[in-house]
Amino acid sequence: MSALFTEFNGVAFKNPVICASGTFNFGEEFKRFFPLSRLGGISLKGLTLEKREGNDSPRIAEVYGGIINSVGLQNPGLEGFLKDYLPSLAQEDTVLIANIAGNTVEEYCEMAQRLSQTDISIIELNISCPNVKKGGLAFGVEPKGIESIVFAVKKHCKKPLMVKLTPNVAAISDNALAAEAGGADSISLINTIRAMAIDAKTRRPVLACITGGLSGRAVKPIALRMVYECYKAVKIPIIGLGGIFNAEDAVEFMLAGATAVQIGTANMINPMAAVEVIDGLERFCYDNNIKNIKEIVGGLII
């Protein structure tokens, strides 16, 4: 058995490395660089019930050690996805995670129900996107709101439900507990941190939307702290992300308590990033005589 084999929520993963939603589209673009079967899983581009065009350009600003994006959930809509993307994706030997965002609780439930009848293995509830006006964050900030939306969606969801948390809160562990109480099978964190870039020369915001979500190396220490806090609070598996660029970063998240990790912004900068993390973890296990990577989960020595 491979040292990286991982299982959680009843789903088997070749390795604990998942590409993060919105930075990997529906995978197609990466096939030219490596076979998708190398990946533990893919969290697909965030889906909404209806097709969305997203926000105006510019949608990206580069800042020190990170990027700010305001894509705004551009996607082909649930039906478009099922028709045009899922059939070929389902041929790939990797775990597919559908990332969903709704305008209302009902929309979330409808999408979860519909996706439960497909080849999708896990549904990731995106209640933390900072780039859409309605929905998204509205459900994801207060513990009560989180618990009730998770509870509602869970009833319509026949697949494991992963709840993606926003870092734009005062007490992340309260929100993790709320997701757990609502019936989440796992949580993933962090989504992007609300941020802004200004061009001092033009005196204008860089993004058409003025603000957007920060991701990349700059957010890692914040994400790591949040994963650690959640690990101390909840029993369900935690999928850690935020600024993971190499295997060492991934090890740090797993030590803090992540059962698996997601790679986001790094994919955009280096299309081989996820594969390099996988190879690096393999080497890490070999070098440290680790039989299976899960040995290190939560293994931070205090």
């Binding site: 350009s57 510019p58 990206i60 894509v71 994919n267 955009m268």
Partner: protein
């Protein structure tokens, strides 16, 4: 499309902060004119993203990029010495398609002149008319390479220091009716493209324009580089950068 390490063969300052970067590429992939590369500018000062730079010229071992040291990234790029390795992804995007066009007008403004040369390089047997504009003569760093390879080259500068003191679109307009172009390929600032659209709107000649937008990945994965088109948002990096002028909303 490959993601690889390219080696700096030369990286020379031409003039006005414009540099000519020649990179040797192992396992050179097939390139089409009008495509671009995402080039790493190193990892100093918190820079993460690669920069999109059009392919100016290429052979079976090297690509040549002309770029302006504009901001943090390209300034760092301009400091890269011979034999340094740079991460690069190329070739990217949909370039100019020659189809069976026999007479092509090339209309370029500013940095937009650079990618147009790749068209001539790849398809030598077409009759080209080039309309090239820049602020002044010293910004027209590669106009010479068009001369001799085109049926005609007309230059426009804002100050008249090279060619005529006018807009490049005005020169093009004078010639439009005269030479029976089969197609028009253009690259330049938005106002230039808008003027071109106005000039050509009553003709049937297909016009293709190369667009620019801030990019994340450059290969279609992040949806940060969209431009508006008549059929919804499209990715400049993967669906473009070259679009039919009637498709994009300028």
């Amino acid at each position: 499309m490959i993601s690889t390490k390219a080696t700096v063969v030369s990286n020379a300052h031409l003039s006005c902060g414009i540099y000519k970067l020649v990179l040797s590429i192992p396992d050179m992939p097939e390139i089409s004119c009008g495509q671009f590369a995402m080039v790493s500018c190193g990892n100093a000062d918190g820079i993460l993203l690669k920069r999109p730079i059009s392919i100016h010229d290429f052979d079976n071992k090297t690509v040549t990029l002309l770029y302006e040291a504009a901001g943090k990234g390209t300034k760092a790029l301009s400091q890269m010495q011979e034999s340094v390795d740079l991460d690069i992804i190329l070739p990217l995007g949909q370039g100019f398609e020659i189809k069976n066009y026999k007479r092509i007008a090339l209309v370029g403004g500013g940095l937009g002149v650079f990618p147009l040369f790749s068209v001539i390089r790849q398809h030598a047997d077409v009759e080209y008319s080039a309309y090239l504009g820049a602020r002044d003569s010293s910004h027209l760093v590669c106009a010479d390479s068009f001369i001799g390879r085109c049926a005609r080259v007309r230059l426009a500068t804002d100050d008249g220091s090279a060619g005529e003191k006018t807009y490049v679109t005005s020169l093009f307009k004078e010639d439009l009716a005269r030479y029976g172009f089969d197609a028009i390929f253009a690259c330049g600032p938005k106002p230039m493209l808008k003027a071109l659209k106005a000039i050509t709107k009553d003709t049937d000649i297909p016009v293709f324009v190369s667009m620019e937008e801030r990019m994340g990945c450059g290969f279609g994965a992040c949806l940060t580089c969209t431009c508006k088109t008549s059929s919804g948002n499209k990715r400049v990096c993967a669906d473009g950068p070259v679009f039919d002028i009637n498709e994009v909303i300028l």
